[in-house]
């Protein structure tokens, strides 16, 4: 109980303030230090650190201090920090959190400063650009898109005599996995029950033509036929013996790196981590198991946090840093992410990177709708349904039905809480 009291902040709410216009030639005020929060804890962390270093070296008025917080804790911490008057100045966060964070009053709207940031709609894929908008106001500038992808252990497959291309259709994929098993890879495709299991489920659900949630946030629809088909397919991989049962968190990825799994679906942010191993591997878009290609995706967006005591210099400097990141997003490709900016995706830095192999999947990328606190609802419902079904504890249809009903209740409560009604 005591810990809940830590939020005992003053009545002052964070204020909307984007500062005076940024001069064309850049920030020219007194030296400032900016606090920049990200959740890049994986293979993507060192790349962002290097970009920040480059920015700090490129001029001597602004010094950016980067602070890395695990994504799982980022959103609760940043909300607490901003409301306590100790928040960061700028941040990178995931597109599906923009609605939540703006509802929690932590983000500054950026509509009036787009020309200062030198960004415009034409530079970006429309879904990623439009995803930065919530309730008619823009809160995020796209940095990248990232999705689930399929990693294959080439070395292991070739050892088993399977050097051909991996089929990307549903039937062919299962046949290929059977073949791999027959060739001596006992359990070629480890099916996780936790992260990233729900991202696999969402991809499959979209492939089977479903939608997980109503766009307006009124109900959860992931228990549709498409959802059931998706989850039955995932459980089927275990039932067919293509995956061991009871795969605990992180095991499927560890097993893949340990030469025990032939393929695994994981985020493209793991590219540098897999690249650090001895494996002979390749990356490709997630196969199309259902009738239409689709893959779960998200985007890191740059934001300008609100403050209880806005500082003009910091706001200006913050805008300059966001502009720098947007302009230099090709360098960000090294993290494994796909730069959001169209022009950056034509630069050699990206074209030569591993993640360029999934650039073709960009048009099939699907994003969660902008509904406040949807991520929290999903963690308490959809993720549990997927886990229960993959572990074989509950039938997929029943697991989805129970949790979708609960999700709808939570979403209805959230609509009220966030004042949509």
């Amino acid at each position: 109980m005591a810990s809940l009291g830590l939020a005992g902040c003053s009545a002052a709410d964070p204020l909307v303030d984007v500062g005076p216009p940024l001069p064309e030639q850049g920030y020219d005020g007194p030296p400032v230090e900016l606090s920049y929060w990200t959740g890049f804890t994986g293979g993507d962390g060192p790349t962002m650190r290097a970009i920040v270093q480059d920015f700090n070296d490129s001029q001597d008025l602004i010094r950016v201090e980067m602070n890395t917080v695990q994504w799982a804790q980022y959103y609760q911490r940043v909300a607490a920090a901003v409301h306590a008057g100790k928040g960061p100045d700028i941040g990178a966060l995931q597109i599906d959190q923009l609605a939540t964070q703006s509802s929690r009053q932590t983000l500054n709207p950026l509509d009036d400063v787009l020309d200062q940031l030198a960004v415009s709609a034409e530079d970006y894929p429309s879904e990623v650009w439009d995803g930065g908008v919530f309730r008619d106001q823009r809160y995020g500038i796209p940095l990248d898109v990232h999705s689930l992808a399929s990693y294959a252990n080439r070395g292991l497959l070739e050892e088993a005599g399977l050097s051909g291309e991996i089929p990307s259709d549903g039937e062919g994929y299962l046949a290929f996995l059977e073949q791999a098993r027959a060739a001596g890879i006992d359990e070629p495709f480890w099916m996780p029950n936790r992260w990233p299991a729900h991202l696999m489920f969402l991809s499959l659900l979209w492939q089977f033509g479903g939608e997980p949630y109503a766009e307006d946030g009124t109900e959860a629809t992931f228990d549709s036929d498409a959802g059931v088909q998706a989850l039955e397919w995932m459980r089927g991989v275990v039932d067919l013996g293509l995956s061991p049962a009871n795969v605990a968190i992180d095991s499927q990825y560890t097993a893949f790196k340990d030469n025990r799994g032939a393929v695994t679906w994981d985020g493209i942010w793991q590219i540098n981590d897999v690249g650090g191993t001895e494996l002979d591997w390749e990356l490709s878009p997630v196969p199309t198991i259902g009738p239409e290609p689709a893959v779960w995706a998200s985007s890191h967006q740059l934001v300008l946090f609100k403050s209880r005591a806005p500082d003009d210099d910091k706001l200006q400097a913050g805008k300059q840093f966001i502009r720098y990141l947007a302009e230099n997003s090709a360098a960000w490709a090294e993290s494994g992410m796909v730069p959001a900016r169209a022009s950056a995706r034509e630069e050699p830095e990206f074209l030569e990177s591993t993640s360029s192999s999934i650039a073709e999947a960009v048009p099939t990328m699907r994003f969660l709708p902008p509904v406040p606190a949807l991520g929290d609802v999903q963690a308490q419902t959809l993720e549990l349904a997927v886990s229960d079904a993959v572990l074989g504890r509950v039938e997929p249809a029943e697991a989805l039905r129970t949790q979708a009903a609960r999700a709808t209740t939570l979403m209805q409560a959230n609509l009220e809480k966030f004042g949509v009604r």
Binding site: L4, G5, A248, K417
Partner: protein, 327 residues
């Protein structure tokens, strides 16, 4: 201190009849002041970090409280009634987590009372390398919950863990889902908790064992008591005062279990191993539904107080009986 003051008073009364009550009175108020001064630092901490948060928490539990939103509407007892009549979306998860906490406590407390005692009895004997063994049993307690949990999460992994690997080498079942299915997940959490914390209880038992006078054992031996009789009639009664302390401390620690299931099972499978603290933290600090979370903590605290009263009454009666018998 107060005893010396009162015993000094009659003596003073004898020497000078009239002046006697005054110094006694003055010294008493002086003592009280000293006592309050000594207590003050803790009282301040207690007020700021316990009393105020409790009252603030009660206030929060009466509101639809989310500190990130501009308004915190008053909802009366809705947060409580919602948990009881099931109209709150958190009712189901909360009662499940209370049940999980109960289960974990019932499984763990007896083990943490008995196993450390056995260890302490062994350690109390004289044998070469005794100090090394004492250190070994205490060592895990020094580790943080994160270290312990991550370590065992990998050791106990059903598919890639060392435990199943060695079980396989020994011809035992090697696919036990230690962390992803019941009852294994509970077995793992209980085992790891006992392994981790038994050293603490063992050290306290050991200190108490060394306090028991060897004369008593000597006398028992002379009376012809065998080892079991000596344990039952000398060792156990000698440990009783410490037992009260160990029981309540262990109970509170078990009821507050959080880190192990957060890190080892993520509350799974499903939400089966989510404890009350886990659920409260999730509701209040991840979802920011602090009103409901505060109502949960209040109910949780009340139930904990109730259990402690029961234990206190049970042990106090025994204590009283023993004292009576001795007199």
């Amino acid at each position: 201190m107060s005893e010396t003051a009162t015993s000094a008073a009659p003596a003073a009364a004898v020497t000078s009849g009239r002046a006697a009550p005054a110094p006694t009175h003055r010294s008493r108020s002086g003592e009280a002041r000293t006592a309050y001064l000594f207590l003050a630092p803790y009282l301040v901490l207690f007020t700021v970090f316990v009393l105020v948060p409790i009252v603030y928490g009660l206030w929060i539990s009466l509101h639809a409280y989310d500190f990130t939103l501009p308004e915190q509407p008053f909802v009366g007892l809705d947060n409580y009634t919602g948990l009881f009549d099931g109209s709150s979306p958190f009712a189901g998860p909360f009662w499940n987590s209370m049940q999980a906490t109960y289960l974990f406590t019932v499984l763990t407390v007896p083990l943490l009372l008995v196993v450390p005692l056995l260890v302490a009895l062994l350690m109390n004997g004289k044998f070469p390398g005794r100090t090394v063994f004492r250190a070994m049993y205490f060592a895990p307690y020094v580790l943080g919950v994160a270290v312990v949990s991550v370590l065992w999460r990998y050791l106990l992994d059903g598919n890639i863990g060392l435990v199943n690997y060695y079980a396989g080498l020994l011809g035992l079942p090697d696919t036990t889902p230690w962390l992803t299915d019941l009852p294994w997940a509970w077995a793992s959490l209980v085992f790891v908790t006992v392994w981790w914390t038994l050293g603490f209880n063992a050290v306290i038992y050991l200190a108490a064992l060394q306090e028991i006078s060897p004369d008593l054992y000597e006398a028992a031996r002379v009376d012809g008591a065998n080892a079991w009789q000596r344990f039952w009639n000398v060792t156990l009664p000698g440990l009783r005062p410490v037992l009260i302390f160990v029981t309540s401390v262990t109970l509170i620690a078990c009821v507050n279990m959080f880190g192990q299931s957060w890190l080892m099972t993520q509350g799974g499978p499903g939400t089966e191993t989510r404890t009350a603290i886990y659920q409260i933290a999730d509701t209040g600090l991840t979802n920011f539904t602090s009103g409901a979370a505060s109502a949960m903590s209040t109910l949780f605290t009340l139930s904990l107080i109730l259990v402690n009263i029961v234990i206190f009454v049970l042990l106090r009666e025994r204590e009283g009986g023993r004292k009576g018998a001795r007199r």
